[in-house]
């Protein structure tokens, strides 16, 4: 059985189920308690599980990441929240130099099973220090997993899988997705990490998109379908470790690929995806160059129109797709 939930509700339900099932799971972060989290995601959990397991912290992102690492190292299963992904910059040392590497450095004798949830993305008028999409920083770090769900059902199943996973997982939510709705199965279920999903089948062009851009790509695909362009939309869901095979297979089929993400283009995940495709057997099937559509290489502007232009919109995806299907190698 499933019913409609928002993305935020789906995330909350996953946390609730994990906490009910496993006493080692606890929640830590700024204003996650009575306030219910800056975006209301943890609303009601404090009332249900109490201050021992739903822990408000002072504004101290370094120690939030540190507490998650230390507690995970010694038998607990923390879910840490960093209020905006921008503030993860203050957690970097514990995440990158400690949590990610501890198992390896200690010869495989320990594990660090925690999830760090954080909302990313622009579109709320919150300007340059509250709109970052920094996922690719973490993709670059061996030992960390990076998950970026695009639908409520994925958010729930992937979060539960992330909590079960014996490694540190950076779980990136998108602020503009929180209110989107979708069918979500009831009860406990997991969606395996590192499992790319084809969200829409098509023959003319592959769009590989992440997070909010999956939703926009699917909308663009509807428009394009009316023009006779059949787009295949592929969502990696887990950025690291990446399940490349379905992406490669799709590109072999369509011969054209457009990669779409919100983060700045230079150094973004799209570069990695393009390289993976170029290095694969799909190279021989490409009828046109691999194209990327991504955030402009600027900080996120406050002005509404500039902010809108900074991030790929549905019409930008439609345009890029139209051009790409006409391109030849």
């Amino acid at each position: 059985m499933s019913r409609e939930l928002t993305y935020a509700e789906a995330v909350r339900e996953a946390i609730d189920l994990a906490m009910a099932r496993d006493e080692r799971v606890f929640l830590i972060g700024e204003d996650v308690g009575v306030y219910g989290g800056a975006f209301g995601v943890t609303d009601g959990l404090y009332q249900k599980y109490g201050p021992e397991r739903v822990r408000d912290t002072p504004i101290s992102e370094a120690v939030i990441a540190g507490v998650a690492t230390g507690a995970a190292l010694t038998g607990m299963r923390p879910i840490a929240e960093i209020q905006f992904m921008d503030f993860i910059t203050l957690s970097m040392e514990q995440l990158v130099l400690q949590a990610a590497k501890l198992r390896f450095m200690l010869g495989g004798k320990v594990q660090v099973p925690f999830v760090l949830r954080t909302p990313a993305g622009a579109g709320t008028g919150a300007a340059a220090q509250h709109s970052e999409s920094l996922e690719n920083w973490f993709v670059h770090v061996p030992g960390l997993k990076v998950v970026m769900p695009s639908t409520p059902a994925d958010a729930k199943g992937l979060l539960l899988a992330s909590i079960e996973d014996p490694n540190p997982v950076i779980f990136v939510e998108h602020k503009l997705l929180y209110r989107t709705k979708g069918a979500v199965p009831e009860g406990y279920y997991t969606i395996p990490l590192s499992q790319t999903e084809v969200k829409r089948v098509g023959r003319d062009l592959t769009i590989v998109a992440t997070s909010l851009m999956v939703v926009r790509a699917l909308e663009a695909a509807e428009t394009l379908a009316k023009e006779g362009i059949e787009v295949e939309v592929v969502d990696p869901r887990t950025l690291k470790p990446l399940d490349a095979e379905p992406i490669v297979r799709s590109v072999c089929k369509t011969g054209r690929v457009l990669i779409v993400h919100e983060a700045c283009k230079t150094g973004g995940f799209g570069g990695e995806l393009a390289a993976v495709i170029a290095e694969s057997e799909a190279f021989d099937y490409l009828d046109a160059p691999i194209r990327r559509l991504a955030g402009l290489d600027i900080p996120v502007p406050y002005n509404r129109e500039l902010e809108r232009r900074m991030v790929p919109q549905v019409e930008d995806i439609v345009d890029a797709a139209r051009r790409l299907v006409k391109e030849a190698r």
């Binding site: 700024e30 204003d31 308690g33 009575v34 306030y35 800056a38 408000d56 002072p58 504004i59 101290s60 992102e61 370094a62 120690v63 921008d86 503030f87 203050l90 709320t124 008028g125 919150a126 300007a127 340059a128 220090q129 509250h130 402009l296 290489d297 600027i298 900080p299 502007p301 406050y302 002005n303 509404r304 129109e305 500039l306 232009r309 900074m310």
Partner: protein, 324 residues
């Protein structure tokens, strides 16, 4: 000279009262415009905290620097910014202080020494040590005052900055606006230290706690710290005890505090307190007060009109300003 007004002349006092009233009017107008959908994003209002912004900046010279916070409209106005250019920034217009790129959380007026609000809690605190060092190395007759909230004192960077400024004897005034909460986190839950100024002893520098809703108390404490910094005596930590009347931002249900608590603090309104004190000392008449209010209302109306009439940034300039 009336002893209870320190070295402030009646004209100066009226100017400071005007500034406090202007801050409140600016923020109340901004809130209304937000509710009308004319301004997007979020905003952090400092209504109820005007005395700490104005009292602190009153002790500075125009050439001195400040670093501000996400709750920074008051600091900006107190340091001498123009409300029309601030309002235009709020509207995201090209004529705004940051050409519409920054908005409320990044409001800055470099010409009046305001190096900027900050979206990051404690974001300005480490930079303050750098500004202090730069002043020292260039042998300038300046100081820097950095504003931050109670919540900022639990970031690691806060401690690193105070320690460094202390050992290098830098001309920095660390000004903590303790408004009792960091979002939903009451300071009593976030710190075991009863007075945040007590933290100064960990760095071997002076610390003082003042009534942040008393303009004169704030002014006097800051003046002393500024004189110390200017004469080579190093940094000071000031804690101004105050309260924010409004929610943390535009999405706060305020479940973490009671209406009674808010009401009790509203009775300690910093603006009404100064006005009352000046009325009693015959430094102000009721007519003066009405006149001041009318002037403030006009200034805000003009600012809103200016902002509305201003042009949007040209999208062709979107890449400007990323690199020098």
């Amino acid at each position: 000279m009336n002893q209870s007004f320190a070295d402030l002349s009646p004209e100066r006092l009226r100017a400071l009262l005007h500034q406090m009233m202007l801050i409140r009017a600016f923020e109340e107008a901004a809130e209304q415009l937000y509710l009308q959908g004319l301004i997007h994003g979020t905003m952090h209002l400092s209504v109820g905290q005007e005395a700490s912004a104005v009292g602190a900046c009153a002790a500075l010279r125009p050439t001195d620097y400040i670093l501000s916070t996400h709750r920074g409209h008051g600091h900006c106005i107190a340091k001498g910014a123009r409300v029309d250019l601030m309002m235009a920034e709020f509207f995201g217009k090209e004529t705004g202080y940051c050409r519409g790129r920054g908005g409320s959380m990044h409001m800055a007026d470099v010409d009046t020494g305001n190096l900027g609000a900050n979206g990051i809690v404690a974001g300005g605190v480490p930079m303050a040590a750098g500004v202090g060092l730069s002043i020292r190395m260039q042998q300038q007759d300046r100081v820097v005052l950095v504003f931050f909230g109670d919540g900022a004192t639990n970031e690691g960077a806060f401690h690193e900055s105070l320690n460094l400024a202390a050992i290098w004897n830098l001309p920095v005034i660390y000004f903590c606006e303790n408004n009792q909460y960091a979002m939903s986190m009451a300071i009593a839950r976030a710190s075991k230290v009863e007075k945040l100024s007590d933290r100064a002893c960990a760095y071997g520098i002076p610390g003082v706690t003042v009534d942040g809703n008393d303009l004169l108390a704030v002014y006097c404490a800051t003046k002393e710290a500024v004189e110390r910094a200017r004469s080579g005596g190093g940094p000071t930590l000031i804690e101004a005890q105050t309260y924010r009347w409004k929610g943390h931002s535009k999405s706060d249900k305020q479940r973490y505090r009671t209406k009674e608590e808010v009401k009790a603090w509203q009775e300690r309104d910093p603006i009404a307190r100064l006005a009352q004190k000046m009325l009693e000392a015959s430094l102000l008449t009721e007519a003066d007060l009405q006149h001041l209010q009318a002037r403030v209302d006009e200034e805000i109306a003009a600012a809103v009109a200016f902002a509305k009439a201003s042009p949007e940034p040209d999208p062709a300039t979107i890449f400007e300003g990323v690199y020098a």
